[in-house]
């Protein structure tokens, strides 16, 4: 590294992009292009940053694979921030391998942390945890240590484990203050605020109130049958039945749980599950079929009994039944939960994160836009979506989480 590049790199890692640019703004050699790209990223001009990093990578060429891999990592970080999730994971894998082979453990660790962040965003919690476990936190540059702790907190939050989430957020806060970069401190504060917001609404026959994640966690250890309409599962303790792909069954058991220990009339069930006003004989036949399916699905946790006017839920071991609903009921609450991070998402990234088809997401976004809940900017491939101000929209329980049973 030469003198001005070393000075500029120091300024960048201290979060002072202007001091860095002062030194290298007029230079066009590949290391200067790369650092200018990182400086522009820190200043928020991500489009220019991406161009500069791409031209730096080209200029380094095949003879300098390590330098090129570092550009790829920086580019992947920008892709992640701009929620361009499709491309970044592959690029990261390749770059991380090159860096590890060359002995650049610091940047390899940074690439690993970015991979974990990416996997967290798309809800692959176990894989995110595996990647985090692969390297020591102490090798990471101090600024990425903050991000690492936020990933740890994110995993814990999505697994509904309050205590580890709190301690990770505490560590993130301390690390951000040590680094002294205002943007990082603000990012941690935002995460703390989101964590502190109500995570769900508890609905039972005689109560309805907002719950924080901590209270949700307590509920899950108790002897309670929970119909979790946030995650679309039914659970007692660690026994979990997923109804994610079966919305009719979920609607039925939710209606039964809300009325428990009373029974629910057939007409009400028909209305809740199929949205019909006047039930005819074919509806009744369909209800019988669906109730049989539900009985099978929830067999490990509860029984269904027919009553004179309808059905009643009889939990096996649990001594009470509650429903966990999103704090704000919305047709597309999960999309809003992702957009609740304040970043601009592409529709393809949302589809990837929620494991649904791009067409489904586009339909959801159109409906949300019609209701003024989201806004789009940019065109074509560059089109991005952001949430219109939804004050305090709580996200924790609506964020994607694969493997929540663990």
């Amino acid at each position: 590294m030469d003198s001005l590049i070393a000075a500029a790199a120091r300024a960048l890692s201290a979060g002072d992009p202007l001091a860095a640019l002062k030194r290298i703004a007029l230079r066009d050699d590949p290391p200067a292009l790369a650092l200018r790209g990182i400086a522009m990223a820190q200043l928020g001009d991500l489009v220019r940053a991406r161009e500069l990093l791409a031209s730096a990578a080209r200029a380094f060429g095949p003879k300098e694979p390590v330098a090129r891999a570092r550009c790829a990592v920086a580019g992947a970080e920008i892709a992640l921030v701009t929620r361009d999730l499709g491309r970044s994971l592959q690029a990261l894998n390749a770059a991380r391998a090159v860096l590890e082979m060359s002995g650049d453990r610091r940047n390899a660790a940074h690439a690993g942390y970015l991979q974990a962040r990416h996997l967290l965003l798309i809800g692959r919690l176990d894989e995110a945890q595996d990647v985090l476990d692969e390297f020591d936190a102490d090798i990471l540059p101090p600024a990425s240590l903050v991000g690492r702790e936020l990933v740890v907190a994110g995993i814990a939050i999505r697994r509904i484990r309050t205590e580890p989430a709190w301690s990770a957020l505490e560590r993130a806060k301390r690390a951000a203050e040590d680094v002294g970069i205002a943007a990082l401190v603000a990012e941690v504060e935002q995460a703390v605020a989101a964590f502190g917001a109500p995570a769900a609404r508890l609905v039972a026959r005689d109560v309805e109130r907002l719950l924080h994640l901590e209270e949700v966690e307590k509920l899950m250890t108790a002897d309670t049958l929970i119909v979790d309409a946030c995650r679309n599962v039914v659970r007692t303790g660690t026994k979990i039945v997923s109804l994610a792909a079966r919305p009719v069954l979920l609607a039925l058991i939710r209606a039964l749980a809300e009325a428990w220990p009373e029974d629910v009339p057939r007409e009400t069930l028909l209305k809740r599950a199929f949205g019909v006003r006047h039930a005819d004989e074919s509806h009744r036949a369909r209800l019988r079929v669906e109730m049989a399916r539900l009985r099978n699905a929830i067999r490990p946790l509860a029984e269904l009994s027919a009553t004179k006017r309808g059905f009643v839920l009889r939990p096996d071991t649990a001594c009470r039944v509650v429903v966990l609903a999103p704090p704000i009921e919305d047709d597309h609450a999960q999309v809003l939960a992702l957009l609740g991070d304040g970043e601009a998402w592409s529709s393809s990234a949302l589809a990837l994160a929620l494991s649904v088809s791009p067409r489904t997401i586009q339909r959801a976004l159109r409906e949300l836009a019609r209701d003024g809940k989201v806004e789009a900017f940019g065109r074509g491939r560059a089109c991005r979506w952001i949430a219109s101000r939804v004050p305090g929209f709580p996200t924790s329980l609506l964020l994607p989480a694969m493997g929540i049973s663990s």
Binding site: D2, S3, L4
Partner: protein
């Protein structure tokens, strides 16, 4: 050309608060390290940092017997090692693309990193007296026993090489192990080279076999 693997005889560091060693120099008793915002003096026996000077230090360092010379941004600073005061500055020949500095025969020798050059510079005025071409990125320069050595570091490969100061031809090469880079090179006048280890924050001593003299 003689060609062998570098024999690393000792590793110093990493040291607290040092995340980059950008240049090294030897004043007869201490190794001076350029570490970004400070020059630090390392005792080669104990391996401890004993002093530090508040001087911007982004690249190569040299010692003329009385003063330290230190590259920072695009200039070479002349520093009083007792007080840390900057006594004079001259422009660096690579306009900030400089890496590596040595003192010999009344001149400063400055590596120009990606320019793959070594400049001989008048320490009073900064005037370039002559330029030697290398075929690798230059990351450290030193003179010992009338031999001109420089460090190279391209991507993950690094070596120390002795070159003919007239023609630039490579006369001898010591390859560093893969993944270990040289940023800054200084000889102790005897059988050791001191090599800055860049972002590893380390300093390494490499054995120098004396040429038959």
């Amino acid at each position: 050309m003689k060609h062998s693997a570098a024999d690393i005889i000792r590793e110093y560091g990493p040291f607290p608060d040092v995340d980059d060693v950008a240049g090294v120099s030897f004043d007869g008793s201490h190794i001076w390290l350029a570490t970004g915002d400070r020059l630090r003096a390392l005792d080669p026996q104990s391996g401890e940092i004993s002093r530090s000077l508040d001087v911007a230090a982004h690249a190569g360092t040299a010692f003329d017997g009385e003063h330290l010379f230190q590259i920072a941004d695009a200039v070479i600073q002349k520093v009083d090692p007792k007080s840390g005061q900057v006594l004079a500055t001259i422009p660096a020949p690579g306009a900030g693309g400089d890496s590596g500095l040595a003192w010999a025969e009344g001149s400063l020798w400055v590596g120009q990193h990606r320019g793959r050059k070594i400049h001989q510079v008048d320490p009073g005025t900064g005037k370039v007296l002559r330029t030697i071409e290398s075929d690798r990125f230059v990351t450290g320069v030193t003179w010992v026993d009338g031999e001109l050595w420089h460090g190279t570091w391209e991507d993950s490969r690094s070596d120390l090489r002795r070159i003919d100061p007239e023609t630039g031809d490579v006369l001898e090469r010591l390859d560093m192990p893969p993944g270990i880079g040289v940023s800054g090179l200084e000889s102790d006048g005897g059988e050791r080279f001191f090599c800055g280890g860049g972002s590893s924050g380390k300093v390494r001593a490499v054995r120098r076999a004396r040429s038959g003299g």
